[in-house]
Amino acid sequence: MSLDHYLVLAGILFSIGAATVLLRRNAIIVFMGVELMLNATNLLLVTFSRLHGQLDGQVLAFFVMVVAAAEVVVGLAIIVSIYRTRRSASVDDVNLLKS
């Protein structure tokens, strides 16, 4: 088994995350799809860090995690405030600007 098995796994996870973002309508599940894509990218970074023998990839993955935490906090706050006003967590119901 060589290291590119990890890369293939990361590619599969990233594709599933992207499909989740494209296909699901619940805003929270869409958000989880984004998280899955970030996680797949982290696995890629860690594997490349091992491939090249440098720790920069792991540091980059660490920064991705921190930024993901900040992003989740703000995104979930937006979802909660939308839910409060529209009583719905579906991304299709946010169409106030539609003519």
Partner: protein
């Protein structure tokens, strides 16, 4: 034990047998859980399957020599982010599921095609890329992995670290501002509630307790006021809602009959207690009832 673990999970140039076994156990589980995220109807199930993916990823990080990232993955992702997701799910409603109404025509097929196309592109890139010979992290992890990561972060990426700190503070403030609701009505504290109760003329004291008679289920029998009339509000509200209280009108009639028979007056509806020769209007009907006979017995509830 620790030497065995170290040898198995060194993150070296070649994967060991233990790492291979770990990968082939975890990878199908991760893919299945990710598909669960894609197909689960309820948001809670999607969140749980995402947690499975994240914990398996933590195992893989440790197996690849990124011990620090493995721990951070568990603490930050599964411990903080997914718990945040679950809290929001509880706020929004655990049973919230997707609507199946398609608002954009053909969006489902377009989404499937785009997702599969992305998978094909990624497979093509991964298949045609040329990888160097793996170097392994044995040299980079020389003292230990957290020390190596700390050296890289605090020598080359100090500024990024500080910017990330500012970003976290901004995100926390942003979440506070976004979820803040201004109070539109004045706050109703204990004082205001007490004033309202006095103004409304409701009971200020606790409600009277239900009557206690040896022959009845005590909670469903209304208490008697000083004039001998049943007080309906003394029966617990739950019994009243269920319709399990003893009939107040029946009690009033019975008491009237007893009072009439005992005091030998035609009209005793509003007889004040001092006019009652028994002098004890609460106890008197009970004694007199026993004297009056069985036909006055309650409905036996």
């Amino acid at each position: 034990m620790s030497t065995v673990l170290h040898a198995a999970l060194a993150g070296g140039t070649q994967t060991s047998g233990a790492e291979e076994a770990l990968f082939w156990v975890l990878a199908p589980v991760m893919v299945l859980a990710a598909l669960g995220l894609l197909f689960a109807r309820k948001a809670v199930h999607a969140a749980l399957s995402l947690i499975v993916v994240m914990i398996s990823l933590a195992f893989m990080y440790v197996a690849q020599g990124a011990v620090f990232l493995g721990v951070v993955q568990v603490v930050v992702y599964t411990g903080a982010i997914m718990m945040l997701f679950l809290f929001v799910l509880m706020l929004v409603g655990v049973g919230s599921s997707d609507s199946l109404v398609e608002t954009i025509r053909g969006q489902r097929w377009a989404g499937w095609i785009a997702g599969l196309g992305l998978a094909a592109v990624l497979a093509g890139v991964l298949g045609t890329a040329i990888y160097p010979d793996p170097v392994g992290l044995d040299a980079a992890n020389a003292p230990s992995n957290p020390e190596g990561v700390a050296h890289v972060i605090f020598s080359q990426h100090v500024f990024a670290m500080e910017v990330v700190g500012a970003l976290l503070v901004t995100a926390a403030l942003g979440a506070l501002v976004l979820t803040h609701r201004r109070r539109l009505t004045p706050k109703r504290g204990q004082r205001e509630l007490a004033d309202l109760r006095v103004e409304g003329g409701h009971h200020l004291a606790p409600l009277p307790a239900p009557g206690v008679y040896a022959r009845h289920n005590a909670m469903d029998v209304p208490a008697l006021d000083p004039y001998g009339n049943p007080i309906e509000s003394s029966v617990p509200r739950v019994l009243r809602v269920r319709g399990q209280e003893a009939d107040a009108a029946e009690y009033a009639a019975r008491i009237d009959r007893v009072l009439a028979g005992r005091s030998a007056k035609g009209d005793v509806e509003n007889t004040p207690p001092e006019a009652d020769p028994a002098g004890q209007p609460v106890n008197a009907p009970d004694i007199a009832d026993a004297v009056a006979g069985v036909d006055l017995e309650g409905d036996g509830k």
